[in-house]
Amino acid sequence: MNLLSLGLVHGLIAQIAGTIFGMALVMFFRVVAGLPAWEREPVFVGGAIVGAIAFMIGVGALNDWFKWARGEKTSDDISPDPDKPNWTRFFSVDYDHKVIGIQYGVTSVLLLGFGGIFAMLFRLELAEAGITILNSDIFELILGYSGPHLYNSLMSLHGIVMIASILLGVGAMSNYLVPMLIGANDMAFPRLNAFAFWINVPGAIILLSSLFLGGFDTGWVGYPPLSLRAPLGMQMFLLGVYIVGLSSISGAINVIVTVFRLRAPGMTMMRMPIFAWAALATAFIQLTATQLIGLSFQLTMLERLLGMGFFTPDVGGDPILYQHLFWFYSHPAVYVFILPGLGVISELLPVFTRKPLFGYRWVAYSSMGIALVGFFVWAHHMFSSGMSPYLRIPFMYATLLVAIPTGVKFFSWVGTLWRGKITTPTPMLFVLGSIVIFLMGGVTGPPLGTIATDLHLHDTWYVVGHFHDTMFGGYVFPFFAAIYYWFPKMTGRKYDERLGKLHFWLMFPAFMVMTLGQIFLGMLGMRRRVADYDPALGFDPTQLLITIAGFAIFISVIIALYNLIRSARKGEVAVGNVWNSRSPEWQIPNPAPLHNYAHPFHVVGQPYDYGLQDAPYVDMDPAGTPAHS
């Protein structure tokens, strides 16, 4: 197999060539405009933009659209080329939602690895007071900077790379699961789907390149005027996030249309598997809010490049305006991160309790409720920012209201567990872990929601602890639950149960230590985003503990990856309905065949009627046609 024939390789070569071409192009225009040809920032930004477009052309994600623009016929057949080995599909443009889902998932895990390595580096730095390992000359040699600026850059990159990883993980779950759960054979727009995945690759490359272009010391929020003074790496951060945002928006359009138009006969909205509701609510947020982080980042880029006065007071701008635009996306964004995870919890609980999901309708509506309320709470990130003081009160009310639909979910989960017949294989352990951790994220929220207490807690490690609770409980644990649960469906093999359990029993307690340490330090008033702290404050032992816990989490993820990679090749073959689930995707062979369902199934019952005799959810063969027609 020739590596050069892979779409990914084409794309990467094109990106390098495109970047160089783009740089030359900017220099050419600068000369034409009578400016000196070389100025680092515009030349690099121009190169990065052209490079990203070149990647998309090179990888082949735009081919059919170019054909269409030229008026040529495009084929509707999305079947892979039978002459090529199956694995090559994952490295080239492919329109099958399952392949795209796995592409999303693998890229997400890769970014998770980068984000994790960044975290391990600055955790080592924080383990004791004093600037220690980050002062090493190795960093000066490789990156051209070290010390506190490196700390700030690593911390900022950890934040944004993890967010990109989560967005891709959400894409993985939506793409792999939604069509299968609702009885479709693919997403509504397969080409847009491939575009939405592949655009992440140049986006992630540009984002990571910021580390080598001076880094940026603003945190992932990038508040101006600091972001206007940061090194070139800032532009790569802004551009990279913008590109990943494009993926979010196009993915969201696809999910919404798929859920509304491609459901199997008989599947009303209230009979959809609950994950589809979560994906739908998520997509609505991504569709609308993402545009405003895109806008605020573009305006920052323009201010840096052309001196346009959006956010600098001296030239007529307003730094608070940025914060409003930014948080209008970035608060709802956390619901993008958690809603699919909460959907996974609701989806898996009935299977492992052998009981119906308690209050299906309420759980479904609560997702929509969270998504809706989430649009009216953004300014709670700004209680001490100096925004209009009276505006803070309505935002406090709206913020506390988020507790209501979130509470409904918790109560429904407890209602589902009550009097079940509970088994605890690895996916269920992760589900239970999610509930406890997300609960910690939930109960630590209201003290941040009431303004008076937030004045103490804002920008301390308490917020770090709260946020990691919501992310691990709302995304990381459910994501692993989903991977373990649907692993047989993806690969046709079983994962190693002992290693899975080891993963959980290492990660869960380690996370507890980490987050309780963070919350504890924050309550005492330790500021977040500091490269160093005064040893006299006595924070050292807790920080050391957090570092150890962080490394334990890192190791547990390595164990998980070892388990998954090994099992995908050598695991026990998984036959049939592994979890004895009622859901349609478990009624077809493992791994799921190319076009999921040989003929459309009919929905004849409720999705989670465990415990009710003779009440199937789906009729897989309504016409009575013989299989393999």
Binding site: I249, A252, I256, R261, L306, G307, F310, V315, L321
Partner: protein
């Protein structure tokens, strides 16, 4: 393998495409809402110092172009190919004139540059983001016109034309908000 349920009918695909397009437009509208908010916050009670006559001319061009876009689509739906081609071409030309008017003339004669305070930032950002959309719309029109020339669209099946028209009207509606925001609201800065 007879995957007859794999490929949806034209009607079903049309329904999906329409929904997808409208979702895109809702999404895109948020960019312009954000710019509008920025304009109100940064220049309260004021507006950039601009050439009123030129503003009126380009606005008229864009409004009239939407009329011809609508004609083009209607003619096609009634089977009048020539009328469709004529309407598309006129829309394309008017859109190009709008671009020349805003980027080619107004940008050059404005008494301030992008780095000159809030008015520069707001004016160039709002017209720039909008002009980028007009440019993509003009490219879209050119593609539709070229494919129309090759006889690709019929009275029954012409989703691309419909999409182009909806997108063009969207751009027009945005300008209906932006024109007063830039040319009429408040008193001139200078």
């Amino acid at each position: 393998m007879a995957d007859h349920h794999m490929t949806a009918s034209y009607k079903e695909r049309l329904a999906r495409n329409r929904m997808g397009l409208w979702l895109f437009i809702i999404s895109d509208a948020f960019v312009f809402i954000g710019l509008f908010v920025a304009r109100v916050v940064l220049l309260p009670g004021q507006r950039p110092h601009l050439e009123q006559g030129l503003g009126l001319v380009v606005t008229t061009m864009l409004l009239v172009s939407s009329f011809f876009m609508n004609r083009a689509e209607t003619e096609l739906a009634h089977g009048n190919r020539a009328g469709f081609m004529r309407g598309t071409l006129i829309t394309l030309v008017l859109g190009t004139i709008f671009l020349i008017g805003v980027v080619g003339i107004e940008w050059q004669i404005a008494p301030f540059g992008p780095a000159d305070g809030a008015q520069g930032a707001i004016f160039y950002a709002m017209t720039g983001f909008h002009a980028f959309h007009v440019l993509t719309g003009v490219i879209f029109l050119a593609i539709v016109w070229n494919n129309g020339r090759k006889g690709h669209y019929s009275a029954e099946e012409h989703w691309a034309v419909e999409a182009c028209a909806v997108y063009w009207h969207f751009i027009d509606v945005v300008w209906i908000f932006f024109y007063p925001a830039l040319y009429l609201m408040g008193t001139p800065v200078l």
